[in-house]
């Protein structure tokens, strides 16, 4: 039995890595995605084109404008001072505009009826909210300084500290997320496509007539992808820690065990998909049908707390949710033992259940 299995494993490994392009892709794809997630994208607000309508006598508003432009958030709008801010916004020449009360802000404050209006392009909701609160802060501070107002001490103050990621580095959040995504893409889709390829090429029939048992076929076809999946772990962990300075505060053993449980689940799901699919195109589409909700509901992009109850349940049965929580907990928080055990337990249970179902289905297909 072991001999057959070993032969199978060797064949499968060779097949997966025979194509030099595949070898490159298998290791290049993770790096490219890590770079995209770690460097390119962020929810930070930057380079908002701000248009402030002030005349030279309006000192307070001039200071507001200077203060805003001194930060990385805003760029000066390339527009004539007298142009209509609505038109500029509509034409997409600016992203936000500050409109003073008639006669200028400085004089209006002296009069005691200063209404300052902000117009902001809200097609991007997140950006619009941040711009609003940021400018509000700047205006409050500048007015306080310019009007020589005594800064009033608030009676109740919350001393706020952000733990585990004090400077809110985007890469700290994103890199564990992309690690989870990469682990599942590389294992689940490759497993299901490689099994369906046998079906498509007709070599599956040959396997049935060969003197191998079903479990040998199943393990022979799946173990190589578990190995491949686990082999990408040190690669992406290395890039994450060395390339992006994401801290690794927990134990390597814990992260390895968590990853193993996750990879087994992913491979079991891949096998399950392959029992439904007739060809590679189908198995790939099936993989995506699983992958999209799995990644979107995992809490990587959108908070699970906000989802309607049905989707919350979907998120809880999603292995990516648990693996992502594990990665963040282990890498950023140092790995809380009861939490890790609980989540690894859930993943293991998922792997066993899916593994059992796909094994049963595989069995019926082979008979």
């Amino acid at each position: 039995m072991m001999g057959t299995l070993a032969g199978f494993l060797g064949k499968e490994m060779k097949q997966a890595l025979r194509d030099p392009r595949m070898r490159i892709l298998l290791f290049l794809a993770p790096i490219v995605q890590l770079i995209l997630f770690g460097v390119a994208i962020s929810n930070d607000v930057k380079n908002i084109r701000l248009f402030v309508q002030f005349d030279s006598a309006d000192i307070v508003l001039q200071h507001v404008s200077e203060r805003a432009l001194a930060s990385r958030w805003f760029l000066p709008a390339n527009a004539d001072r007298n142009s209509d801010p609505f038109e500029l916004l509509r034409a997409g020449k600016i992203d936000a505009a500050v409109i003073p009360p008639p006669g200028g802000l400085t004089r209006a404050i002296a009069r005691g009826d200063a209404d300052l209006q902000l117009l902001v392009n809200a097609t991007n909701v997140l950006q619009a909210q941040s711009v609003d609160s940021y400018l509000r802060n700047i205006v409050t501070r500048v007015v306080q300084e310019d009007m020589k107002l005594e800064p009033l001490e608030a009676p109740i103050r919350f001393d706020t500290r952000v733990l585990y990621n004090a400077t809110l580095e985007t890469s700290y959040f994103m890199v564990p997320g992309v690690m989870a995504m990469l682990m599942i893409i590389n294992t689940m889709i490759l497993t299901s496509m490689s099994i369906t390829r046998e079906k498509e090429m007709g070599t599956f029939e040959m396997l049935i007539s060969a003197p191998v048992t079903v479990s040998e076929v199943v393990f022979g076809k799946t173990i190589p992808y578990m190995v491949l999946g686990m082999a990408t772990l040190p690669l992406i962990l290395g890039v994450a820690v060395i390339g992006f300075n994401v801290p690794m505060r927990g134990s390597l053993l814990m992260i390895t065990i968590a990853s193993l449980a996750f990879v087994c689940t992913a491979v079991a799901i891949g096998t399950l998909i392959s029992t439904f699919a007739q060809n590679q195109q189908q198995s790939m589409m099936g993989g995506f049908l699983f992958l999209f909700p799995a990644v979107l509901l995992s809490g990587l992009f959108f908070p699970i707390e906000n989802m309607p109850i049905a989707m919350k349940w979907m998120a809880y049965v999603d292995p990516v949710t648990h693996y992502l929580a594990l990665l963040r907990n282990i890498m950023l928080k140092g790995g809380e033992l009861d939490f890790a055990l609980q989540r690894i337990g859930i993943l293991t249970l998922m792997a066993l259940v899916t593994g059992y179902i796909s094994f049963k289905r595989f069995h019926t297909t082979l008979q």
Binding site: A40, V125, T140, M147, M285, F288, E305, N306, M311
Partner: protein
């Protein structure tokens, strides 16, 4: 021999049969958009609610209870009491809570003595989807607590009023769903095409097709037409869902939006074809299609992550990506109602990209066939 529509139609008919015979693929191709729109429409809400807040109250006074009550009644937080400050830390590190409030024993005493009463608020910085919004709530809760408990109402020299143009209620769905059409089309166009054509190479049936009197161009058009139809069907579906189920306004012209989508579809179908010709293997084709089609559609299109926030290199890189331009066209058409002349830039870019892609793909396809 010249291009003949009859032969093209024959290839297209064969491909349609191929898709129809395979209800699984068809179901997925049509099911995926449904699924994604529902998922995005219902799951996405950037304004975080129901954040679990661990609370340790060492003061046990009327004031401290009022502070906790201010958090609870804000609607953003769910209060979980913990027995000790260590318990609060533990709740954060064990992922039970996203934030922790620790009220020291001298809280009320300080307030009554005229000093600032300070409480410590700890936030879990490992989860970006909640920490940002929570930080933005704290300021207003602090002001509210000051007003309710100590009657502290600082004068406001300036009334700052914001108008959110094009999406005045800051509805997250209006922001996400228009961009979703782009992602759905990208999946259908690049992935399905790349795989369908790569399969012909893999099975050797491409050689067979080429030995018939059918011209290469006819093969291309015939093979791609059904997938273009699928893409358009998915697009129409996303549009109908967005208008009926999610009530996203469409303020622009359908014609302008449609032209943009067709240009995009052309570019992406050509890209799928190019990938299949270059790889001739479904597994490799899939990987390349994910890297060059799907990931850019999700991450570099401005769909969720703003392009202005990217480093300069990536900002330039997105210029050669059709997804960026169609996302602009979709959002401007839906929310702003922009006209063709207002959007000449994305249209020009999309046209150029489409022409270049089609030329590249057909050139490569033809040269590969020369004996």
């Amino acid at each position: 021999m010249s291009f003949r529509w009859s032969r093209t139609a024959a290839i297209a008919r064969k491909e349609v049969f191929h898709v129809l015979r395979d209800p699984f693929t068809l179901g997925l191709a049509l099911g995926l958009p449904v699924f994604m729109v529902l998922l995005f429409g219902f799951a996405i809400e950037f304004n975080v609610k129901n954040v679990h807040l661990a609370v340790f109250d060492a003061d046990h006074t009327r004031t401290s209870r009022q502070v906790i009550d201010t958090f609870g009644s804000s609607g953003y937080f769910i209060i979980d009491r913990v027995p000790s400050p260590e318990g609060a830390f533990h709740a954060l590190s064990g992922d039970h809570d996203r934030a922790a409030l620790i009220i020291p024993g001298d809280f009320q005493k300080n307030l009554y003595a005229g000093r600032t009463a300070q409480a410590q608020l700890l936030l879990d910085g490992s989860d970006n989807s909640t920490v940002g919004p929570i930080i933005s709530y704290i300021g207003s809760i602090q002001t509210l607590a000051g007003r309710r408990i100590a009657g502290f109402d600082p004068p406001e020299p300036v009334h700052f009023k914001s108008r959110f143009l094009f999406n005045s209620e800051l509805n997250s769905r209006w922001f996400v769903i228009p961009g979703l059409a782009v992602v759905v089309m990208a999946i259908l166009a690049v992935l399905l095409t790349a795989l369908a054509v790569a399969r012909e190479w893999e099975n050797g049936s491409m050689e067979l097709l080429l030995s018939t009197p059918v011209q290469p161009l006819e093969i291309i058009v015939g093979k791609l037409a059904p997938y273009a139809a699928l893409g358009i069907a998915a697009l129409a579906f996303v549009y109908l869902m967005s208008r009926t189920v999610f009530a996203v306004p469409f303020r622009g012209s359908l014609l302008v939006y449609g032209v943009g989508c067709l240009l995009f579809l052309g570019a992406y179908l050509a890209q799928g074809l190019l990938i299949s010709v270059l790889t001739r293997n479904q597994l490799v084709a899939m990987q390349v299609a994910i890297m060059t089609g799907l990931i850019p559609a999700n991450l570099l299109s401005g769909f969720v992550f703003p392009i202005e926030s990217m480093p300069a290199f990536f900002q330039y890189l997105t210029m050669i990506m059709p997804v960026r331009w169609l996302t602009v066209i979709a959002r401007e058409s839906y929310l702003k109602g922009a006209t063709f002349t207002e959007m000449w830039e994305p249209f020009a870019a999309l046209t150029i990209l489409c022409v270049v892609m089609v030329l590249l793909a057909t050139r490569k396809f033809k040269t590969d066939l020369e004996p």
